[in-house]
Amino acid sequence: MRTPLSRRAVLAAASAAAASAVLPRRSFAASKAKIKIGLLLPYSGTYASLGNNITDAMKLAASEKKNRLGGREIEWVAVDDESDPAKAPANVNKLVVGEKVDILTGPVHSGVAMAMMQIVRQEKTLTIVTNAGAQPITGSLCSPNVFRTSFSNWQTSYPCAGVMLKDGRKKAVGMFWNYSFGQESMSAFREGFTKGGGTIVKEIPVPFPTTEFQANLSEIASLKPDAVFVFFAGAGAAKFIKDYAAAGLMEKIPLYGSGFLTEGVLGAAGPAANGIKTTLHYADALDTPANKKFREAFKKATSREADVYAVAGYDTIHLLAQALDKVKGDTSAEKDLIAALEAARTESPRGPFRFGKTHNPIQNVYVRLVKGGREEVLGLAQKEADDPAFGCAMAT
């Protein structure tokens, strides 16, 4: 079970570590010692359930490896990042400088991730991003010591354009929450849609986290596009879906989006969500042995259903296990460890997984359709989608 440290305990530990700063940073003798894995995840606030699912899936994967990576026992150090970018530098320092973790994992929130990038690029801590989809992480800010096991925003939205065009819908309205995640999704969709010959009639940015959509729905009704692409997530997504259906638009103008439109909100949205098509690198209903095994094990361990967030946590530990076994647990052999991770492959619950040149996953993206209140997998939207790596020097 998860036991995140209280803030006070972390502070105490950090000051203790600072007081006894005589410990060598990454001594070779330490390779027999426990391997410290830092978790920078939200355990409170809106994203708490995401943080808990990632953590529990990591622990599930660890237990499948007998709680050892490269022969070293795992010591978890968790910090609640509260999804607060303002507190991120202090929280990252707690783990990287205070706790001297061997490997840093997390976070969920892209703003927290950006603050984290600034520090780990300097400190060279081996870092695995377990959710945040911001493009710069494996784009303009990419770094050899930073890997991502989740997705880039581009991967979740670009393929949606192709799906829409294949359905014969050439005139679209785009509507999105006007912050980096929404903007990156919209621009990826726009890129794919216009490249494929479609026209975007209008883009409607909605200030985050506004959930009053009525005015924009009336506008969409007057524009009469063939389809609507949206980026909303969580509570906003549930509200948007309900409003869209209640305004009578669902039957007349089909709704598309990145998979985050429907992840975790189908219960709240109810029958209103039927007919929505989304693209994502995972679907609960994926019919593969790896996915079934994972979902059963997760349910048994936590009595909750697994989701796309848990998958990233689960894969993180399995990929790390492979790489650390190869270097026999020696985290001081940084170059070898990075090379081993680059070469790691896993048959993930989401399908085949490997890292691309920028350390972003190369993974299948699926088309999902909500039918009878459940997500169905219609097939592949894009096989082995690789992020285009905007501005990353490692890509060449």
Partner: protein
């Protein structure tokens, strides 16, 4: 924009404004009479919505949820006033803000502990699930019409109570001079207690009405609190009529802002507030004498 679209958007704005009024009315009464800046007002809204979800899911009826939930809110409002707020009437606004902000944190944690962090949908009452056509593409959910009518009825009821009853008379008197009211033999303690409770119930009732439309989620109280403060400030602090005008103005401004200036739409209501305050520093219907 065509005229029909303008008409539809006006309707959207009025509908949003009416709901805002219901939330803001409690806030403005509490500030006008008790002189308390109640940050916890948004928490009462959230609590109402969560109660609606919690009870409706178990009984299958939103009406039942309101009948069961509102007495709970009467109790919550009463206890909060007796145990916390009543001790701070003599203090300055800063102490009150600290206290009520503390209450926001407490209620948020309570919500997390009792109901969890998930987003929940609340089904509409079955009789109100239909919709009427609005133009060739859009339809208008009957429940939205129902909430607007309900808000309007409550507004009229409030007006009736405040202008036409003895209780309302003491409220109006209390708003302009609490010491004098006390000297005349009216128990101000009881009056304040009743008013605060009424404010909490109004907020919770709006939360319940809105729950099927907005879905229920953590932090929903803070969002509505900020807009409600804008409404109260535009309308003139303490004025219910002002809150009504302010709510409609904010609703319509917000709606047209979203359509005409999508990039900066979140700033539109604040621009309206700034403009109103520039010409009427006490808000549309604020009374200069109203000071505490």
């Amino acid at each position: 924009m065509t005229t029909s679209l303008v008409a539809v958007q006006l309707l959207n704005g009025v509908e949003y404004g009416l709901l805002l009024f219901l939330v803001a009315s409690g806030l403005t009464i509490i500030f006008g009479v008790l002189g308390v800046l109640n940050f916890a007002h948004g928490s009462f809204y959230m609590l109402g919505a969560y109660l609606a979800y919690f009870i409706a899911e178990r009984t299958g009826s939103l009406l039942f949820a309101a009948l069961l939930g509102l007495p709970v809110m009467v109790l919550v409002g009463f206890l909060v006033e007796r145990l916390a707020i009543s001790r701070l009437y003599a203090r300055d606004h800063l102490s009150q803000v600290l206290l009520t902000y503390g209450l926001v944190l407490v209620f948020n944690d309570l919500q997390r502990a009792l109901f969890g962090n998930e987003v929940h949908g609340v089904p509409m009452p079955r009789a109100l699930t239909g919709s009427v056509a609005l133009g060739e593409m859009q339809s208008w959910p009957v429940y939205r019409i129902f909430t607007s009518v309900a808000c309007l009825c409550i507004a009229l009821l409030l007006r009736q109570v405040i202008l036409g009853t003895r209780f309302g008379m003491s409220v109006r008197a209390g708003a302009s001079n609490a010491e004098m009211v006390e000297a005349l033999g009216i128990d101000v303690r009881k009056l304040f207690s009743a008013l605060f409770t009424a404010g909490a119930v109004l907020a919770a009732l709006s939360g319940m009405l809105a729950a099927p439309l907005t879905t229920v989620y953590p932090g929903m109280g803070e969002g509505i609190l900020i807009v409600s403060f804008v409404v109260v400030v535009i309308g003139g602090i303490g004025s219910i009529k002002g809150a009504f005008a302010g709510a409609l103005l904010v609703g319509i401004a917000d709606t047209f802002g979203k359509v005409l200036l999508p990039g900066v739409s979140s700033a539109v209501v604040y621009a309206v507030m700034a403009a109103v305050l520039l010409f009427r520093p006490r808000g549309l219907l604020g009374q200069p004498a109203l000071q505490r």
